[in-house]
Subunit: 335 residues, 2 copies
């Protein structure tokens, strides 16, 4: 903030332009001058002012990321994956949480030139501001949270198919009364998983009655309350599919609180395959997502768009895989 390229120029006895040239690896600098500049930089402890560079170059080498509730264990993993890619690409990351107005803030930031682009891992469907930013050609990609309306790059799991597979699996091991713990309908991810699950069961001639469908809000507490509601039914389900792992942990915990054994008295399946899912105390059956590959793609698409805005819109799907662990078993009646 203190020593500028001008100072360096002074001690190196060259023009400020030359300092800038060596900074930018411009070949048009003689070896002597380059050496002198490098030495001077070292001597005075020069750090280029990133703001000034950004103002001049119209880019900042920083990318915004918005998550929805960082306390959901899915997000730290997503941030780690995205962060790794961003770091590799020499980009910084600024973080927003949509639980605290992050969506708007991020959109503002791209338009203010503070970040070169943003990755949304959460979008409220039909937000006018997103559409507007897109119209203004702001580089934006949606990761793990698609949107039908928005015409921008999107990378998602095949949530519908993954959930359908989970449905088939539960049916196949003998369950006939299966509950669904859904997520916020504003989230396309939640809707796709719910739809896929419902579809899978319907195809097997096993439609899910309304009483077996609860909203678990994507959270542990939601999952916990959700199962308890289901368990209070006159004819409770023998298995429950949760729209994400976070709420599935809640469902397992809720069932255990009610004194049930998981999976012997209730099977639970989640979605995401977060690291915790493999922990001994849960060993959750779930659907895994290719988070690293997805994050890599998202960063790649975004950076491409930061370069040339006119690239055609892409929508990439990655497949998921059912990971069978120990929260699922045939229903007690069959055991």
């Amino acid at each position: 903030m203190n020593v500028t390229s001008m100072d360096v120029a002074r001690v190196a006895k060259v023009s400020q332009a030359t300092v800038s040239r060596v900074l930018n690896d411009n070949p048009n600098v003689s070896e002597e001058k380059r050496a002198a500049v490098l030495a001077a930089m070292e001597a005075v402890g020069y750090r280029p002012n990133v703001l000034a560079q950004g103002l001049r170059m119209r880019k900042t080498a920083t990318i915004g990321v918005v998550v929805a509730g960082i306390t959901n264990p899915f997000y730290p993993e997503a941030l780690e994956a995205v962060g790794k890619q961003l770091e590799r690409a020499g980009q910084r990351m600024v973080l927003w949480d949509s639980d605290r107005g992050g969506e708007e803030a991020a959109l503002d930031a791209v338009q203010q030139g503070l970040v070169d682009g943003v990755i949304f891992t959460s979008v409220s469907e039909g937000s006018g501001t997103l559409d507007e930013a897109l119209r203004l050609k702001a580089p934006i990609v949606l990761l793990n949270r698609g949107s039908i309306n928005a015409s921008c790059d999107q990378v998602t799991s095949n949530n519908f198919e993954g959930a359908a597979e989970a449905a088939r699996y539960l049916y196949q091991i003998g369950h006939r009364r299966i509950g669904l713990l859904g997520g916020p309908l504003a989230a396309r991810t939640a809707r796709d998983r719910m739809d896929g699950f419902l579809h899978g069961l319907r195809e097997l001639g096993q439609p899910v009655p309304d009483e077996l469908i609860c909203d678990a809000l994507f959270t542990h507490e939601g999952g916990r309350m959700g199962v308890q509601e289901l368990l209070d039914l006159d004819d409770p389900p023998t298995a429950v599919f949760c729209v994400n792992d976070f709420s599935a942990f809640g469902a397992v915990d809720g069932a255990r609180e009610a004194g049930l054994d998981v999976p012997l008295q209730l099977s639970v399946v989640g979605y995401d395959d977060v690291a915790m899912a493999a922990w001994r105390s849960y060993q959750l059956t779930t659907v895994s997502q290719q988070l690293d590959a997805m994050s890599g793609r998202a960063v790649e698409l975004l950076l491409r768009r930061v370069g040339r805005h006119e690239a055609p819109v892409r929508h990439d799907h990655f497949s998921g895989a059912l990971v069978i662990r120990n929260t699922t078993a045939p229903p007690a009646s069959q055991a």
Copy 2:
């Protein structure tokens, strides 16, 4: 990035300076002009360029935060707490992970004027770069990770005392052979908790033999490996204190994998009181930190320092509290 204050000036038929004045709520603007400018801004969809403002004002309203392994459930909670405070103060947050060179990067960023200050929730003791940044008056505060050497604002829990209390509690309910699952010695937090624990037991005439001390690396996997090592001893401990919750979950899981009942055959206590600690499947006995208060203080200290660099250095301590749940019980021999 496109429409500038010049454009606004043009349509409002005023000078660019006047546009800037209304932007900055300068009282010296007539009501008519102000209205005209506001209308023009609206009409052209103006967003001030934050980079230019930052360059001029020498501040950016963004704060850097560095965490050590965002996958540790403590960090999302810390980020949420810090983020809430930052948001309230109108500051943005850029995030770095020290697992991927974030410490250096953040230090660079303050000096490049990219962020106004940085909150470290992780510092490698004796990093020369930190000292250098401090000498250059960079606004820096250490949150939850003190350092004896660094002369900068620090806000920490009273880790030594909290750990000593955990030790006393285990002794008091009857344990005499107690293991310690430590963390990286480079982290002052880990050292203080280890020291406090060891001290507490020593005072009770119950020094901990070396064979009962393992490093659990602050991670789930570390905790899991750590207990297994302890459990393989000829005379295994009946209780174990873990230096953070993340590794304590691992310890519980490791014990369960070994077929032990927690707490009947092994008591486990953690540190942090992360949300998960209260979940049914763990119900971990642990030491809570006043994370919200600590985060608030850290932000406050940092912002104060961003304003006037010469404020005297402060080092604030917050007390912790033992939270007794269900991973602790008297040893089997006494039950």
